[in-house]
Amino acid sequence: MLEIILKLLEVSFWSGIAAVGFGILFNVPKSAIMTIFALGFGAGFIKFLLIHLNIHVVLGSFLAAFFVGVISLPMAHKIHQPPVVFSIPPVIPMIPGYFAYETILSIMNFIFTEGEVNTRISLIDAIFTNGFTMFFILISLTVGVSLPMLLLKKNTVKKLDS
């Protein structure tokens, strides 16, 4: 049990580092860096905890991205930065790079494997499984992170109108 928790914390730590790396690539203000690390850590923790509990990676990514989107709103008011500044970098580590890689690898093998029908069928299976998982993770990440922003922005606009 302790081993699992330590592994989870290690992975979350590296998610935070990856988020900060991308934050620096996108030239975020210095005052936002700690927040980005914390959000990256939290998102990584939620995602890998959910995957460990046998929840599908698409749903796990969605909930982790939704967490980032929700938390970034009060944080935006607290440290006076617009929410995009620290809602995008923590989501980037969850981009399904490994599924994309597997998809490309299967496509390559499919192109260069001739004749053997069974291998080709299993490769088609791999292309579709990995490709669609990748696509749905991408959608769940983008929708998850932008949904709270859009929902709450609508609310404040309504308040202004009334």
């Binding site: 290690e10 992975v11 590296w14 998610s15 935070g16 580092i17 990856a18 988020a19 900060v20 790396g21 991308f22 934050g23 620096i24 690539l25 996108f26 030239n27 975020v28 203000p29 936002a32 990584g44 006076h80 930065q81 617009p82 995009v84 500044v85 995008i88 989501v91 980037i92 580590p93 981009i95 790079g97 490994y98 994309a100 890689y101 597997e102 490309i104 690898l105 390559m108 093998n109 260069f112 991408l138 959608i139 990440l141 983008t142 929708v143 992170v145 932008s146 922003m149 859009l150």
Partner: protein, 255 residues
Amino acid sequence: MNDSSRLIKTANLLLDISSLLMVSGANTNRANLSIDRFASVLNCKAYSLISHKTIIMTLTDEETDQSCTRVQNIPPYIINFSVISAVSKASWNAISENWTLEQIEAEIERIKSISRYSQLLVLFAVSLAGAGFCNIFNGDYLNMMVAFTSTFMGLFIFQQTHKLKYNLYIRLFLGSFIASVTALVGIYFNIGANPQTALATSILFLVPGVALINSFTDLLDNNILNGMVRFTTGLMTVLAMAIGLFVAMYLFQLN
């Protein structure tokens, strides 16, 4: 200064602000909101058409009812969240302190001169991020070393070709090609427990995360055209990355 030249100056300033925001990676809604905020401070009303490469704006003075229309091209996109943050702060300060045109102009000039992180710091931070990715996808610390090195090499090429003003997609191809070749050397010598993960994560620094997320927020805001443009840009980026990886893997005959 007479009214019409002042109006033209205001329009140019607002166009400058919105193109600055678009270049820095804000979504269309944010660019529109910022224009509206600044325009309301300057007693004007702005109506604008923002596309990916051009902004058209008609500005109407609310007192004299004069109007002027201006068009501005948007320079190539370079994501810079510090600019977005600074413009957002400036817009709130401008409203609460009722800034004049000259004050806003001076602040925008200051924002334009905000420095970026140094190239070396970016290289190290992004390479660490690459190593982090490798850990996330079950790599051990030797794999993370390989991922670090290949991200470093790929990003270095990506940055140097930017200085030589190469086409973006050629740069993406070269960056992903160099990064995956470096990671493939790791596979060739079988470094670490899981050398495949280093290859899969070495090119992730090129992932068009901002373009894809902004594309969906634009689509959800009903800025369908801009959303589609951003999505296509993201798709082209992924394609260029995939071709780089593909060619590298073909050269190493990894099947």
